[in-house]
Symmetry: C2
Subunit: 252 residues, 2 copies
């Protein structure tokens, strides 16, 4: 999902597979819940169930971090919480800026999961002068003009883009120029960034479309398929949208 993918060949010593990294937060969440209930140890089986994966995968994942379990017993919850937090870099505090304080940006600012995990909302930024000074989630929104200064003053390296698609690339460029090296993009557009900058995207529409794909399949299960048949003739001027041409609108 990251665009700035060109990570080092990195197959060197400390190469934790990307798939494993993506699951560490899941394990951490499950472990935190256990920790809160003062559960001292868990088996791979139990923890895997809580995290929604299978135990073999979990054990393999943990094996990349080291041998943190005890055979015949399981894993020490507190110890694992610490190890995974450290591995993920959550033992330090990450200041984050959110750009674009519309519905989504506000929702993000209010999202509790941020603060509870080493992330601190350092600033909320919006291009609308009318927003400036307004408090959202207890933080006063600042104008885009301040962007560079804010990032510099706070040593921010992670930015969240929640602007309309049309503004995303421009905002991205400014963030990168200001020193941001990791971006979480909610705008439905592909961002281009220089080497060394990581981008992850979250796209609601895409998730729904994937669900629709599987949903459709379930529906056309038992029957002989009606939409499943060979595609219409490939003659160009032919089809333009017999029944299904899309309105085709992007959120702007």
């Amino acid at each position: 999902m990251a665009t700035g993918r060109t990570h080092r060949p990195a197959t060197r010593s400390r190469g934790i597979p990307e798939a494993t990294v993506a699951r560490l937060p899941l394990y951490l969440r499950a472990l935190t819940a256990l920790s809160e209930r003062s559960v001292p140890t868990v088996s791979s089986e139990e923890l895997a169930a809580a995290a929604g994966v299978n135990s073999a995968k979990l054990r393999k994942d943990f094996s990349y971090l080291g041998s943190y379990g005890t055979r015949g017993v399981g894993y020490d919850v507190e110890y694992l919480v610490y190890q995974i937090s450290r591995e993920l870099g959550l033992t330090q505090d990450w200041p984050v800026v959110i750009v674009g304080i519309g519905n989504l940006g506000a929702a993000l600012a209010n999202y509790g999961g941020f603060a509870s995990r080493g992330f601190r909302v350092a600033a909320l930024i919006d291009a609308d002068p009318a927003m400036a000074g307004k408090p959202v989630a207890g933080i006063s929104v600042q104008h885009t003009d301040e962007l560079e200064r804010i990032i510099d003053d706070n040593g921010v390296s992670i930015g969240v883009i929640a602007t309309p698609a049309g503004a995303a690339q421009q905002v991205c460029d400014r963030l990168v120029a200001a020193g941001i090296t990791s971006i979480l993009n909610f705008a439905p557009t592909v961002l281009s960034v220089p080497e060394g900058v990581d981008v992850r995207k979250v796209d609601l529409s895409i998730e729904l479309q994937i669900l629709a794909f599987h949903e459709q399949r379930k529906a056309g299960e038992g029957e002989a398929a009606e939409d499943r048949l060979p595609p219409p003739p490939a003659t160009k001027s032919d089809r333009k949208g017999p029944d299904g041409d899309l309105p085709a609108v992007m959120p702007a």
Copy 2:
């Protein structure tokens, strides 16, 4: 990401790889943009750049759908838009319910990308009686009591959960009992669903944590590692004590 994973062995005739399915919405978005600019054809190279992938991957992906291109020329934009839409099941209209109309739920209700892609917000549902009747994004919020009736009346098969984590499983159970077979979960919790129900999750905190992991790595790049070394020692010299004290150590 889907929990109800147990998909059919499906190695049957029309098996489109999951990784490919996940990219189809990306291609569709890029194609739609081209279509709006009345571009008649694209090469795999151009389209791949617009979608943020490489061209070999794109061609391979399309090859699973069929041979929709013209050698020496490229792909007909309109035709591909249609084919991908059909493949994703977007030529039909999917009614969707959103449960949990807090900050996030409201943001989702207002999200333009929904309506523009074959998805229709059929209802907004919230457990707070005070919310009932209030209009959000032009739709009147309904109380949870109505959930089953709403789903049934509208033939809804896709549900979006935007409730707090604590309520998610309960809401999920009701959705499933009411006939929902695809769920997009924004609550930071693992949902358990019966076979045949698809779950996809979106978790902000997880995405940020993955970014933090890579960010941390960038920071400790050139130097001799200070956080990379064995963590602060503890009573660990003789393998791990049953009591959960913090750090111990070491790499494999």
